[in-house]
Symmetry: D2
Subunit: 394 residues, 4 copies
Amino acid sequence: MKIIRDPLWKNISIADELFEACKTKAFIRLQNIRQLGPTFLTYPGATHTRAAHSLGVYHVAMKLLDSLCKKGADTFITESGKKSFFAAALFHDIGHFPYTHSLKELSLEEHETLSARSVLTPELSGIIYNYGAEPEQVAAIIDHNLHSDSETMFYRKLLSGVLDPDKLDYLNRDAFYCGVPYGIQDTDRILQSTIPDKNNGIKILPEDMLNVENILFSKYMMYKAVYWHKNVRIATALMKKALHSAITKKILFPEELYQLDDYSVFSLLHSRNKFDEYKCVLSVENNQLYKTVFEIPFDETNTLHLKLENLDYRSEYEKELSQKLKLENCDLLIDVPERISFESSLLIPGSTVFSSKTVQDFTINLRKIRIAVKPEYSEAIMSSNILIEKSDLM
Amino acid sequence: MKIIRDPLWKNISIADELFEACKTKAFIRLQNIRQLGPTFLTYPGATHTRAAHSLGVYHVAMKLLDSLCKKGADTFITESGKKSFFAAALFHDIGHFPYTHSLKELSLEEHETLSARSVLTPELSGIIYNYGAEPEQVAAIIDHNLHSDSETMFYRKLLSGVLDPDKLDYLNRDAFYCGVPYGIQDTDRILQSTIPDKNNGIKILPEDMLNVENILFSKYMMYKAVYWHKNVRIATALMKKALHSAITKKILFPEELYQLDDYSVFSLLHSRNKFDEYKCVLSVENNQLYKTVFEIPFDETNTLHLKLENLDYRSEYEKELSQKLKLENCDLLIDVPERISFESSLLIPGSTVFSSKTVQDFTINLRKIRIAVKPEYSEAIMSSNILIEKSDLM
Amino acid sequence: MKIIRDPLWKNISIADELFEACKTKAFIRLQNIRQLGPTFLTYPGATHTRAAHSLGVYHVAMKLLDSLCKKGADTFITESGKKSFFAAALFHDIGHFPYTHSLKELSLEEHETLSARSVLTPELSGIIYNYGAEPEQVAAIIDHNLHSDSETMFYRKLLSGVLDPDKLDYLNRDAFYCGVPYGIQDTDRILQSTIPDKNNGIKILPEDMLNVENILFSKYMMYKAVYWHKNVRIATALMKKALHSAITKKILFPEELYQLDDYSVFSLLHSRNKFDEYKCVLSVENNQLYKTVFEIPFDETNTLHLKLENLDYRSEYEKELSQKLKLENCDLLIDVPERISFESSLLIPGSTVFSSKTVQDFTINLRKIRIAVKPEYSEAIMSSNILIEKSDLM
Amino acid sequence: MKIIRDPLWKNISIADELFEACKTKAFIRLQNIRQLGPTFLTYPGATHTRAAHSLGVYHVAMKLLDSLCKKGADTFITESGKKSFFAAALFHDIGHFPYTHSLKELSLEEHETLSARSVLTPELSGIIYNYGAEPEQVAAIIDHNLHSDSETMFYRKLLSGVLDPDKLDYLNRDAFYCGVPYGIQDTDRILQSTIPDKNNGIKILPEDMLNVENILFSKYMMYKAVYWHKNVRIATALMKKALHSAITKKILFPEELYQLDDYSVFSLLHSRNKFDEYKCVLSVENNQLYKTVFEIPFDETNTLHLKLENLDYRSEYEKELSQKLKLENCDLLIDVPERISFESSLLIPGSTVFSSKTVQDFTINLRKIRIAVKPEYSEAIMSSNILIEKSDLM
């Protein structure tokens, strides 16, 4: 047994056999991928990595399943299944690459698919096997497209549900490293009080609703203050614009992204810098983020807003708009935040103070369309009022 | 300048002249009044006192006004007014007596009135005067029935508003001492970012709404987990029942309560033990709380529920019910939580995800009518189903 | 299983049967005894009780023994012995009375003896028996004068050793509630890494020395900043002076002290106030502590210093000195801190940076003889230089 | 005024003009240099950067000087001097490059010299000037070789003394990010209680000694648990061995190192990989650290130990030893920790429990000579006993 220190959970115990995985290239890559990408430009403390998060999820998953076993889960799970679940927790993000979540609009592979594939490589599957778990099951817990039996289904529901180890780690950890008090969950209590449910992972008792409400509200707060902080949105949109353009122009192929980390993504782009939007990459690398010149809440009834959700349409619109503003296309961007669910579907009506309506309001309150331009042009554009007059967005 | 250690705010600086007040009998009494009354029976860590809370409010008030002064408040406030505000923060609860908040239904004096009166006693007013503040102004900041000028009005609004030093201390402190993560506020940031408003105390900018929402949600969580925890409600209801009976029977006079602390309230009751409900006092003192046998959400459309809000009606109803159940009146109690506002009136529609409706839902979700009986009778009554059959409450 | 919240350890699990003990009069008394006595006059946050500490020691003891069992202790301990150990942790202070530690110089019973006696009362022994532990063994783990077998010896050594649950709770808890950073221990790590030793409780590996050194240094810091803070010493010395006088004059009998709490000790003294030193009691109750007029490090080579360690000699010396200074005897006191060991005997020479000499230096640095007088006389005496001239103390 | 979030100090206020510096290439480089180099391989949370540390030192320096000004320092310092001090705090590490501290044995430039030089570049000096500080003075505060007047001397002593902003940030921050409780300082109290001394920076009052002792002991604990953790020492020694060899063989020039960050140092070495010790670089990058096969406390009376402190001698000795052991030179290394002072010279004898002897013991206890080899060879060598027989080291 090896004990690893962690600022959040203090001491993480891990079996020697599984600890071997932490010295593989696949895992070392996660040590060079920051959990929150370019957020550290705004929150300088937020340098925590996917590796630290993965260890944290593993730790919470251990505590959770140990607690469920004391309450009856031991009657329907196997010893190797248990270990597969722990390994799945540790490797659930092993396929992550920089900006994974924000590049979903480019037609890349799902990171769960990549994680499952990585789990099945000889190196990792050998380690998993030595540890006493089943590589195939580990992969199937992570990637919901793979075939699964009922025990595997149980683990899937534990690993991504309302109160899951992933959320319990990331909300706590992201808040901790950013230095904000919004994401703190009553983790220990949740882990001690949760009841197993063979078909649904965990059963949410009426007295657990407090914790579900807290997680929901924390997510809203973290989106508002951190995940969708204006600067984070813009840095991400800049990278997306550059990568979308490079892929469209066949300067870059999606497969090339999958093995990168936060630094090699820049090195690669430096070596393929013959396209206009490469400038966007430099503006992120040098922390010269574009400035917002126009901002409006996303409006479900506005046809233009709905069309702008499509990345190709958005690119065309950016081109037109930059021409009107006499800017180069690479000096302007439009950001449209993704639709996020907040899992309101998981709430049981009547049992909580948060109606579906309230949870929808969270999303509405958060989603804002922004137009941003290179810093040196922002003042002129703001004072010209030209954007305000463009009534089609309003 | 004297520095006082505090587990929450770490170091509280206080002028030597004002620190003298901490050695008066009035303040020492606060050291023997637990901030959360009988909550320590359920949360053994919650032994923090009104004295520690008062010092905390003083500390936050200092930080708040210092920050507002850097942003223009110094143009419309006076030096002595400032000190009056700090003293008002320190003495705002000096008139508190045990169970103040829960005894509101008995016709006692408001604790603000008592605090203001205490401030004007020779001992405290002398100290306040030496410190450089105006005793009359200090009293008027605390007691809104007293005459006030516009500067005093400004301080009143600072001391009790949406983001006020009282709430910022008690939500944080109560959570801290109970060991729950729900009440934590982004205090430092709130204090640094708040803008003064001569007429309204502070101006709530759109970007401050996050903090207002957090305070609202924290209050809801703290009510659910702590302030209105079942055991806390019942312990309080037991004391209320005993005191109401003693006052009605002229065994005790309200004025006798005002100078008590957590221990002398019991001593006094021990010496006036010739009434049936005295048993309720012993059940609290010995941590033998009554057990809930019936619980139903308060329903605004139920006439009986509305009538039960009246303490005298409730007492009569308790008597009847105990007869039906063949119990002594003192062995049964009905608890009806007070109406609480959550200050939804202070929310600016459109600027927040919390609609008035959501905030009302908080209250509805929290208010529950409970019937409780002496522990030894609870099982028999629960199994008899006699209460479930009483359809008038349902 | 019941879960109790605790600000320090967050969630403490306790068997329902054992939890019953928390509702006995014996335990409720601990809820009214502050862990650090009059320290709250100086550190207003320090209102934590012997009850909260007892629960904490129980929690740490559980974690410790569970961890030792995973490393082989399960081969030589019994199930009922384990429960006896947990009960002993919970009840180790059940015989505590106010100022227990500081009244050691009066010939009172040891609090361990009182705790053991309390454990054997019908009420507690019944609960212990229902829980599955042996009352006699529980008593013997606490009171080293009782007969013990080798398993009981093992528990004794666990409960009071270099890295014991008592110290791990009180250093952490006292620091936490006072708001100082000095007492924090690496508890989780210590509990996870400690190795069982059948004869000595735990084995201290070379890599554990870091934690032993940290505990030693923390104790030194906590003595300096908190336990022996000037005001704490003086408040305690005032109570000791009053109680010593009352007992000597047969106004009070030691047995009367054993069942008291922080409040009833004052009530009792109020009802027996016909002795001069009663004034000392009031000065503590009203936070009008005597002021230090003379302070000198305790000197092992000074005959007078050595004599002053004897309480009776000290009382005589106080009388003489007060006459010389034209004060009433009750207006002056001399404080001589007890000898403390810092368990330097437990250190293995060569294995630590702290030589016996360094550890002795801790004690020397901390022990200071002080003369204090009623606040109104301190200035006159200080300016008169009369004490400085008294060369026999220097 | 800009407010930056920080997990350690929560909210750092910085003037807009000075904040511009955070967007320069020089500062962005610090965002890619981990404060503790390869420590994150052992403590995965320790990914905090020189940039975050620099902002922290700036914050503590502000608090410190503001507090000193309230206690009289404002009478002998100028407004521009004050700003120069703040800028010096922010830029004191701007010349840092990867492994700066551990490469001191190679004859590279001091990082203070490089920092001062960076401060005087047009970009940074322009920002400093706009902010209202003097670039020359900023440089002179950082680099003690530059000319200084008495005010600058005062700032130098503030910035590197017994209780300086650098130590107060790094001990707290390193402990926080590693997840260990050893480095926590009573920062707020230190900052509030410290007294200015025109000639010596700050005056250490007897009651401050507690804090000095705490810093000393914390440093010892942090060295033992983190800074000189076996794995950290070996990772660092591997890089040192590779760089020393590359520089000796003129494959690399010292000047090339100065502008690197944690990632470009590896890129550069990948492009200059034609030397045997390049393998050492890969073992660090891939977390395949060499394993210790021999360890002995450094002995001041052992001539061989003394000779091994010299890097060139050590390299020769490594070569010989690897031949004897039939290993390639690049598969073995000897680590000899540097001499560290613990500033015992700053202690005033008699005022502290830490004698010079004790402080020397700290160093002796920490310094261990280690021989380590590639993981695959460690077992064979350990079992062969060949090293134990080499009596010259023992």
